[in-house]
Amino acid sequence: MIRLGSMLPQAFMVGITELVKMVGPEKTCILLSRMGKELAETQGQGLEGVPENDLHYLPICPFADEIIRFVDLFGERPEEFQVIVKYVAEKEAGNKDKVECPAMASILCLLHNAYRKKRAEMAGFETLHLASKLSIAGAKLAYNEEAIEKAGKTKQEVDRILEKGACVFKFIKKE
């Protein structure tokens, strides 16, 4: 009975895998981004994270615990998640605005970055998502190299912050 009370996040992620099967990765990605933006509008303008010089970072990924729980339940890296990650990587490769894309360590980075970006936009800031990591053994770090370059940073500088954080980003005040 107790576990029923905490099943919703897991149901959400099962829903994502089912959605990929039903409508494919493109529409699933659109949905995740829209959800992030919609939720952002309820919260208003805001800037996430801990400031570190001219960058910001999150010490822990807010979704990590649920992702790990999901992987524990359904096995490492469900195929549908990989489909989304691959789709986004391919789409981004040909995207002239790649600098604006999320550095995607997990599918939830799509949701999260859309949320963070929208709230920063309401505050008059552009968001660059430089890198993220997932606390699962063997998981690769995700970088947006174009964003790192635009932020005027090196990968080494970003890595130093990733050692103590899960996600690195930069807010740039719009003129």
Binding site: Q43, Q45, G46
Partner: protein, 409 residues
Amino acid sequence: MDIIAAEKLFKNCMKILKENQHQNGGFYASPPGTRYPFIYPRDHSICILGAIAADMLNEAKRGLEFMLAAQKPSGEFSQRYDVDGNDTSYKDLQIDGNGLVLYALNQYLKATGGLFFDTLADRAFCLQYWEAIEKAVDFILQNKNDEINLIHTINSIHEYPAYEHGFEIYANSTCCAGLFGAVEIGEALNKDVEEWREQAELVRQSILERLYSPRRRSFIKCIRVKYKSSDPIGYDAFASSVIDVDAVEYAPAHFGLIKETDLRNIKTVQRINKMLWDEELGGLNRYPELWDRNNGGYGPWLHFTCQLSNHYTAIGDQDMAEKYLGWVVEMAHENLLPEHISTVERFEMWLEDYTNAKILRDSKLTMIENIRSHPKWKEGFAYVTMPLIWPHAEFIRAYTNYKHKFYTD
């Protein structure tokens, strides 16, 4: 109490308030370049109340303008903001901020009117922000559980969900006082606020019945309940009570929900004084040592000591008021006040606990360095977060009350 030293401290507290108000109106929690260079609605509201007590009404107004404009679309005031009013919070709901902003706004309205309320009160300002007031009230009431008529929160004054998640006394007292404040503002503006008054009275009654323990003759800290809408709450996963002593169990009287002379309050304060007055250092601790979330070492807090002095002032107990306020004056270093004070030994104990448990965050390293390099360290004291603006505002309020009570009598 050394009155000359107290007067010097009082004057410097006013200076500190002025110096730490950003041009956009926000009061920093601690000065730029130090530990908390953000605007926290809780600290900020107390700074506004301090400004009102110091007759700095322009500063109070600018502070209110800043905060009311920074309100979230939902009506919530976030944990903290940057100087431009952008939400930079990193913690879950702290609904006492909503209550405090409304309470401070009403205190401002009353202060602008003074003895000539009908003609002088700054109604235009409140009217300008009436929509924000309505949203702030609605947000509080959205978080009210209708089974128990209390307001649900995750964090409260200590930002410590383990002891504050549920129906917590400080959050409920501030929200209730905020609702009554909104009612008074509404009446001044000829608005229909009858429903708000009924809701505020329901919360007040519930604080007096549900958050008071007759056998202990004390208010209690919290009814732990995980979900706001658990119905019935008895089946909630967290269902339990926190009965430990906490300095904020004085909140119902501090925010005017009961009289200072009410026996429930007098007995509560006796328990707080007995169990939280620090026998080694003097001053008032905020909660029991064994809660062990004592960043920088367990020890007395300046602003809680100031807060409780108000009780002794109100009931005319000058000896105790002097004991409390005199300690604050003694602890000031160059007329500045820290967040709290500990001993070298307790500091090292905390450091050992947190290091062993592997919960010492990077951000604490700077704090540790500052504590060790402070001149008081060589005298055996750990001065933690120096200065914190909040206790300066509390001292202004408490010392002003003290002077009005004992000098003019």
